[in-house]
C-alpha cells in the first residue's frame, strides 16, 4: 500500500506547484514562524519546531504526522485557538476547520452557504464545488460521513473568501472521502488555487495524494520541514513513533 502511495505521489510531482507564475503580491508571506516554537496544552509542550516556517500566499502546506502527535494542536496554534507554550505566532486572518465541526442538521449545504455568504457573491463557486464533488444538496443531518466532509470543505472555501482569510487550516479534509472526491479536491487546490491565502492541510501520511509546496512533519515531539520532493520512504521513518521504531 505504501509503495502505491509513493508511486502516485512521485508521478504527480511537478515543479510548477512550487511557484505560481503571474502571481504578484506585495507581501507573499502570510505568516512566518521562527524555530523554537513549542506547542501544547496548558504549558505542557507536546512538540517543538526545529526549522523556520514560512506560509506564502497561493501555496499549500501538507502537515503529516501519526495520530496524537500534534497536527491538530499545531493547526490550532497557527489559528490562534491555542497559545504557544513557547515562542510567538503572529495574528493573521485564519480559519480552522475541524473534521468534527457540525452544522444545523435541518439545512442543506446550499442554505448554509447562503447564510455564510448573504450577499451571494460566492454562490456560483459553492454550486460549482457541490457539483464537482458530487455532493447531494440534502439536509446536512442526513448526509453520509463523506458527504458531510465534502460539505465542510465547501463551507470553508466560501467562508474563507467572504472573510478574506489568509491562512486556511483544514484538519484531515480527506477523512472519509472517496478517491474521486480526493482527486477532485487536489486538482482544484492546485489548478484553481486561491492566490490570497495559504492552505494548510493535515492528513494521515497514507493519504498523500499530490505534491504540496511545503511538507511539515509532526512526530516524536518534533516539528520539522521536508522538501516537497522528498520521497515517502525517507519521510516514513521520521514520522514513526519512537516505540514503533525500537520494535
Amino acid at each position: 500500500m505504501n509503495s502505491q502511495v509513493t508511486g502516485s505521489w512521485k508521478d504527480e510531482r511537478q515543479t510548477e506547484f512550487l511557484q505560481y507564475p503571474g502571481l504578484i503580491m506585495e507581501n507573499p508571506i502570510v505568516l512566518q514562524i521562527n524555530k523554537g516554537l513549542e506547542i501544547g496544552y496548558k504549558r505542557r509542550c507536546i512538540a517543538k519546531l526545529n526549522d523556520d516556517l514560512r506560509f506564502r500566499r497561493g501555496e499549500i502546506s501538507l502537515l503529516l504526522g501519526s495520530n496524537g502527535q500534534g497536527k491538530t494542536t499545531l493547526m490550532k496554534t497557527l489559528s490562534g485557538l491555542l497559545p504557544a507554550v513557547a515562542g510567538h505566532v503572529k495574528k493573521v486572518r485564519t480559519m480552522f476547520v475541524s473534521d468534527e465541526v457540525e452544522f444545523p442538521a435541518c439545512l442543506t449545504p446550499l442554505e448554509i452557504v447562503s447564510c455564510f455568504d448573504p450577499a451571494g457573491d460566492y454562490c456560483d463557486l459553492a454550486r460549482e464545488l457541490i457539483d464537482s464533488l458530487e455532493l447531494q444538496n440534502k439536509c446536512y443531518g442526513v448526509l453520509s460521513k463523506g458527504n458531510r466532509q465534502k460539505a465542510r470543505i465547501v463551507f470553508a472555501e466560501v467562508l474563507a473568501r467572504v472573510r478574506e482569510v489568509e491562512l486556511l487550516a483544514l484538519d484531515e479534509p480527506f477523512a472519509g472521502l472517496d478517491f474521486q472526491a480526493r482527486d477532485c479536491l487536489v486538482k482544484r487546490w492546485i489548478d484553481a488555487k486561491n492566490p490570497k491565502l495559504h492552505l494548510v492541510v493535515s492528513m494521515h501520511p497514507s493519504e498523500i495524494a499530490s505534491l504540496p509546496s511545503q511538507i511539515i512533519l509532526v512526530g516524536q515531539g518534533q516539528i520539522d520541514t521536508a522538501a516537497p520532493e522528498t520521497p515517502w520512504r525517507e519521510l516514513r521513518p521520521r514520522l514513526q513513533k519512537t516505540e514503533l521504531c525500537a520494535a
Partner: protein, 257 residues
Amino acid sequence: MKSIFLLHFRQLFRENDWILPLLLLLVASITGSLLAPSNEDPTLQFSARTQTIWMTAWLCSIFWVGFVSAKLGAFQRTKGLREFWKSVDVSDLHYFLSLLAIPLLCNVLVFGASGALTFLFGRTPEVPWQEWALVNAQAVFFAVLGQTGVTAIILALTNWLDVAPAFTCGLLIDLYGLYGIIAVDQVRSGKDPFLSNGAEILWTIGPHLHFADFLPRLTFGWGALPMKPFLFAALYLAAIALVSLGVGSRLWRFRRS
C-alpha cells in the same frame, strides 16, 4: 455577525418548534372566553380571553424561548462551532449578541402576537381603542425587556452547562423574579428580625421581574401605566437586562478545549 444569526434563525424556523407556541396562542384566543362565566356577565369573556392569551404567552416565553436559548447555546459548544467561529476571529461579544438576537426575536414575536391578539379579541367594549392599544404596547415592551436578561443568562450558561441545567437555571430565575419575590415581600414584614432582614436584602437585590408582568393591569382594566412610573419601571428592567448581558458576556468567554 449576520452569518451566525442567519444560520441559526433559519435552523430554528426549519425545526418547526415555533408552530407549538403559535398554535397555543391561537387556541388561547379562541378558547379563553369559554373559561369565564359569561352568562352572568357577558363582558367577562373579554378579560378571560386576555388573561388566557397573556398567560399562554408568558408560558411560551419561559418554556419555549428558554429552551430555544439553551439549545442554541449548547449546540455551539457540542458541535464545535465555538472553535470554528473563534478561528475566523469573531469576538465573543459579537458571537453572544448574534445568538442572543434569536431568542430576543422569539420573545418579540410571542409577546407581539399575544399583544395583537389581545388588542383584536380581548377589548372590553367600553374601553377606548387607543387606550387599549397603549396598554397592550406597554405590556409587550415590558415583557420583552423583562425576559431579555433571563434569555441572556440561559444562553451564557450553556458555555459551562448542558441544555437541561442551563434551562432550569433560567426557569428558576423567572419563577423567583415573577412569583418568589412576592413571597419574599411577605416575609420582609414578618416579626422575626433575622428573616425580615434577610428578606429585605433579597428584596433589594431583586430581580423584580413581576414589574414586567402586565397581566393584572390588562385583565382588570386598570389602563395604561402613567408616564413617570412607566419610565421608572422601564429603566429598572433595562438595568436588569444590562447587568444580565454583562454577566452573560463574561460567562460566554471562549474556553479552550
